[in-house]
Amino acid sequence: MYTSKALSIILIAAGSQVALAEGPDLGQPLTSDEIPFYATYVMPDGRGLPEGSGTPAEGAEIFAAQCTECHGITGTEGPVMPPVGPNEIWAKPAGSYWPYATTLFDYIRRAMPLDHPKSLSNDQAYALAAFILERNGVIDADTAMTAETLPMVEMPNRDNFVDVWATQGAKPW
């Protein structure tokens, strides 16, 4: 590729021993309509969020029907990583510990429930994110989660993380 060759020339000129191996360039063009949603991720600032809306009350109904077996009746019992805290099982409940609320929507949409991943609609994923946030006391019961409101949620633990990669790279903590 042009970029690689240009870089190679620079490296050779600089006396570097780095040798960029060239491939056979067999990659085929990828158009945006060929990329499934799960090949990207909703970013903390909301980039990638689709249209849709869901309230805590709507989420409560879905949760009761599809989520309690793993996460418990109120989302605190578990047994699997209960998302509502504080609870006695999991010190990192999703709805209060995670730094960004966008992650709730994305993970629910791509992965939940584990035995039927990607079966929930965008509205349902927004509603479940709203329910979990409301149960954790992060949003009010009458606040709907949308592409506009979800990234605005200020997660309580956000500023309580040290970014180890940024501060010391690969050196283990």
Partner: protein
């Protein structure tokens, strides 16, 4: 087992508890004909002149297309760990039986598994790898195309960040084998395409700083990876120990990031999305972050710290009487080579350097060994590793003091094994 051992006074001791000089590794074994060295019973040879096993009297089996372990080795299995098997059986793990293996390469069928949504059935003909986002040319590759790319081969360990979690959080030491306690650790020779070749073909734009790697499993596991790591030594692994990657390890392709926690080495890799920032995916928001003692947390803790453990002997084993043994174990570091492993046979009162078995490779398992004359009295065996960055494996109290009591990730503390007068080997905390 004969107790007819050499006089201890003839032995050259390196430290307390019966640790011998490494000169004894060859000398004693040769002098004792090898049988005692293994600590195993010697078969009775009463009928040496006349015993004819049945298998020398019949025709052997014909060749077969794919070899399997001997039938008698059938009990050598991964330890299956399913924490929520009733409600979420897809969340399924298995631990490598380290206490039954020698050398450093993990047989592919015994490589540990951690599946957050089960093992998918991926059709290799339909599978594709997409590279998109902040690139000049969004591309997709099929398996046949990738076969034509230049390939590198490298030996690297993989360790789950949650390995040894029972020792991290259980108040009393669990009496279980290395497969259960430390088995989320394996080591393979990986072959595949350098990630830099594929990324260069797509043309990463200057603002592309992170790559969100996504697997083709049900939950589409996703992790954000610094572009520097991808370009430095990331491998699109297609082969494991010479054959195509096993389904459990990501068939037909996985991401390999030498030294980084297992979860980031995304299996069934289907997408590399170049971004300007980390996505804070589920796994880097809560599941693979660590709460510290003061209640704050650390995130993006990628590399595995220096660690070692003695595999022979280890918990659930029983010694076959006093005498000569070779202590053997594994050491590794996610940031370099193992520089030194010390062994203690007196609960840490004294230490001696073990021999590192060549080759000692960066970010790969290293086998160490140490000759030992066990006098039959109760004692505690330990190993502690140093890597070539100068890091030293911590003792458990030091590790625990740094973290919240609930943290079970990146546990790399020293593993003490208690040897009782009866020869039982037990898991203990020190």
């Amino acid at each position: 087992m004969t107790n007819d051992i050499n006089e201890p006074t003839a032995l050259d001791y390196a430290a307390g508890g019966g640790l011998l000089s490494r000169r004894m590794l060859l000398g004693t074994i040769a002098a004792s004909g090898g049988a005692m060295a293994a600590g195993l019973a010697v078969p009775h040879r009463a009928g040496a002149q006349g015993v004819v096993p049945e298998w020398v009297t019949v025709a052997g089996h014909r060749a077969r297309g794919y070899g399997m372990p001997a039938e008698a080795e059938a009990p050598v299995q991964r330890a299956i760990i399913e924490p929520w098997q009733d409600v979420a059986p897809e969340f399924s793990l298995s631990g490598t039986p380290l206490q039954r293996l020698r050398g450093t390469i993990t047989p592919s069928g015994l490589h540990f598994e951690v599946h957050h949504g089960g093992r998918p059935d991926v059709d290799p003909d339909q599978h594709r790898l997409m590279i998109h986002g902040l690139v000049d040319r969004p591309l997709q590759f099929d398996l046949n195309s990738l076969e034509r790319y230049p390939m590198v081969t490298a030996t690297h360990f993989l360790e789950c960040a949650g390995n040894s979690l029972v020792n991290a959080v259980m108040p009393e030491p669990l009496q279980a084998g290395c497969d259960v306690i430390h088995g989320l650790l394996s080591n393979s020779e990986w072959s595949g395409v350098p990630m830099s070749v594929l990324m260069d073909e797509a043309g990463v734009q200057p603002e592309g700083k992170w790559v969100v790697a996504v697997g083709s499993d049900g939950p589409s596991l996703a992790r954000s990876i610094p572009i520097e790591k991808i370009m430095e030594d990331g491998i699109l692994a297609l082969y494991q120990n010479g054959e195509r990657i096993r389904p459990e390890q990501g068939y037909p392709m996985r991401l390999l990031l030498p030294g980084f926690e297992g979860n980031m080495n995304v299996k069934w890799l289907t997408s590399l999305w170049v971004t300007d920032a980390p996505a804070h995916t589920k796994h880097e928001s809560g599941e693979y972050t660590e709460i510290l003692a003061d209640g704050s947390s650390v995130k993006f803790t990628f590399a595995i710290g220096v660690k070692s453990l003695i595999t022979h002997p280890s918990a659930t084993m029983t010694m076959s009487g006093p005498g000569f043994y070779e202590i053997s174990g594994l050491a590794w570091s996610g940031v370099g080579k193992v520089a030194r492993v010390e062994v203690s046979a007196d609960g840490g009162a004294s230490w001696a350097d073990a021999e590192l078995v060549e080759p000692v490779l960066p970010r790969a398992l290293t086998r160490f060994r140490m000759p030992w004359q066990w006098d039959g009295s109760p004692t505690i065996l330990m190993s502690r590793a140093h890597d070539d960055t100068g890091a030293l494996q911590p003792a458990r109290p030091d590790w625990k003091a740094r973290y919240h009591p609930s943290n079970f990730l990146h546990y790399n503390a020293i593993q003490p094994w208690n040897v009782t007068a009866e020869g039982e080997v037990q898991n203990v905390y020190l």
